[in-house]
Structure formats: structure tokens, C-alpha cells
């Protein structure tokens, strides 16, 4: 992490409201874009990025600087998303229907921007959130299995097997 950002984080943790607001604003788009890929639903991404900002405000004193500030934020965003998905699954038997409706909406939005909805996108939407997150963190963001394990609160071995399983599923889908 850059020295200037580290200094800003230190000030934020010590109670400097402006420093924390600046940090959150600078990382807002990064976290949102991460969540679009994780949720495959821009509306859910927008909702989750707001929850993430609030959680970061509440827990800034827990950030120890051992990882990049952006990594800390996407760790929080991922946990909020996974928790939400699990809670919805318990509360709502209609989850599959709601989920496929969200994916249809996402596809429609994506194609209306003159972008092609490829089979890779289709395959990604079919992965479970846990496997999609693991594949993205490893193969798009370039984190190591130890880091992914720490981010998701699971052993590194489980992170590795989730990533491998996710890739296997993608390969199968793309047949």
C-alpha cells in the first residue's frame, strides 16, 4: 500500500471523518465493479456496495493494514453478499425464480449496451456464489489461496478446492 494511503487509513481509524469519507469514495467504483461480477446483478451490486460502505464505516478500527485497503473492502463486500444469499435461501423458497429473473434483467441490460452476452457469462451465472467468488478472486484479481481463504473465512485448502471446482464447472458448461 502507498505511504499516503496508509497515512490516510491511520487518520481514518483514529477518527478523522474526512479521511474515511475520502477513502470510501475513492474505492466506491472498484467495490461496485467487483460486486457486479460477483452478483451478476447490478441492482444487487448497488445495494450491497452501500451496505459495504456502512460496514466499513463501523469497522474501520479493525482494519490492521496487513492487506490493501481495497482487499479489506472486497472481503467485507463478499461476506455481506454471501450472508445475504444464505439468509434469502432460508427465508425464501422462490430464490431460484428471483435469481433467474435478475439474470434475465442483467442480460437484457448488458445486451442493450451493445455488448455480446457470451457463453462464458452464461456459465458464470450458473456457478454458486461461493464458487464464482473463488474463481474471480483467484483468476481475475490474482489473489493467492491463503488470501482468498482469509477473505472468505475458510482454510486455504477449501479455497483451492472451491476454485478448482468452479473452473471444472465452467469447463463443463462450455463443453
Amino acid at each position: 500500500m502507498e505511504a499516503a494511503e496508509l497515512e490516510e487509513v491511520r487518520r481514518a481509524a483514529e477518527g478523522d471523518d474526512r479521511a474515511l469519507a475520502a477513502l470510501l469514495q475513492r474505492h466506491y467504483a472498484f467495490v461496485y465493479k467487483y460486486l457486479v461480477k460477483v452478483t451478476m446483478d447490478p441492482n444487487a451490486a448497488e445495494e450491497t456496495v452501500q451496505d459495504t460502505m456502512i460496514r466499513c464505516m463501523e469497522n474501520i478500527h479493525r482494519y490492521d493494514g496487513s492487506s490493501a485497503f481495497s482487499s479489506w473492502m472486497i472481503t467485507i463486500a463478499t461476506r455481506i453478499y454471501i450472508d445475504k444469499t444464505r439468509r434469502k435461501k432460508r427465508e425464501n423458497g422462490w430464490l431460484d425464480m428471483i435469481r433467474s429473473e435478475a439474470i434475465r434483467r442483467f442480460r437484457w441490460q448488458f445486451e442493450s449496451r451493445n455488448e455480446e452476452w457470451t457463453d462464458v457469462m452464461d456459465a458464470m451465472t450458473r456457478l454458486t456464489p461461493e464458487h464464482r467468488v473463488a474463481v474471480l478472486l483467484k483468476h481475475y484479481y490474482g489473489y493467492g489461496y491463503d488470501e482468498i481463504g482469509e477473505m472468505l473465512g475458510i482454510p486455504a485448502g477449501t479455497a483451492k478446492s472451491r476454485t478448482a471446482y468452479g473452473l471444472r464447472q465452467l469447463r463443463k458448461e462450455l463443453g
Binding site: 464505516m57 455488448e115 457469462m121 483468476h139 472451491r162
Partner: protein, 112 residues
């Protein structure tokens, strides 16, 4: 893993990365909150948190003192009952911890 499998994987990862880059470029947040509004929110959150911490601390002390006072009273008036309750409490805690650990292992298993 054979050479072809490795090549297939490499090709798959390249396609995945390309497609995710397209997503990154296509989607921007509808609106990023202004610095001033974020600052107001941060201040408000800190105020709520301070208040919550204060209430929790007061509750902790009040309940803690009540528990200690009741424990001391019980110990003085009926020591055998007090020790019995302590033993049952420890046994219940150990059982709950074992059940929780078992459930946790089961939840993790499908992802392995």
C-alpha cells in the same frame, strides 16, 4: 493434467478474464456519493456507534453486578445448589461447543 487440458484451461481463463474486463468497462455505479454526504454519514455512524457502545457498557455492568450478587447470595445460602448449577452449566457449554463444531464441519464438507 495433460498438455491439452492445460491449454484448454489457459484458453478458458483468457476468455473469462476478457469477459470480466468487458463487464468492468460496461458498468459504472449509478452515482458515487459526494465527499460531503459520505462525511455526514461517517459522522452519524460514529455517533450511533458511540451511543450503542455506551448503552452496551451500562447494560454489561448492571447485568454483571446482578449476576455476581445473585451468585454470592446463592453460594452463601445454599452452597450445594450453587455448585450443582456450576457443574450443569459447564456440561451444557461443552455439549453445545461439540454440537456447534460438528455442524460447522458438516457445512464446510460440501465445498471441499
Amino acid at each position: 493434467m495433460s498438455r491439452t487440458d492445460e491449454q484448454d484451461d489457459q484458453e478458458l481463463l483468457e476468455r473469462l478474464q476478457q469477459q470480466m474486463k468487458v463487464l468492468d468497462d460496461a458498468y459504472e455505479p449509478v452515482s458515487i456519493p459526494s465527499l460531503a454526504s459520505l462525511e455526514v454519514q461517517v459522522r452519524e455512524r460514529r455517533r450511533i456507534k458511540r451511543r450503542k457502545n455506551l448503552i452496551e457498557m451500562i447494560l454489561f455492568w448492571v447485568i454483571g453486578l446482578m449476576v455476581i450478587a445473585s451468585g454470592a447470595l446463592l453460594f452463601l445460602s445454599a452452597p450445594a445448589l450453587y455448585l450443582g448449577i456450576q457443574a450443569i452449566g459447564v456440561a451444557a457449554a461443552v455439549t453445545a461447543a461439540m454440537i456447534w463444531a460438528g455442524k460447522h464441519r458438516k457445512e464446510e464438507a460440501p465445498h471441499e
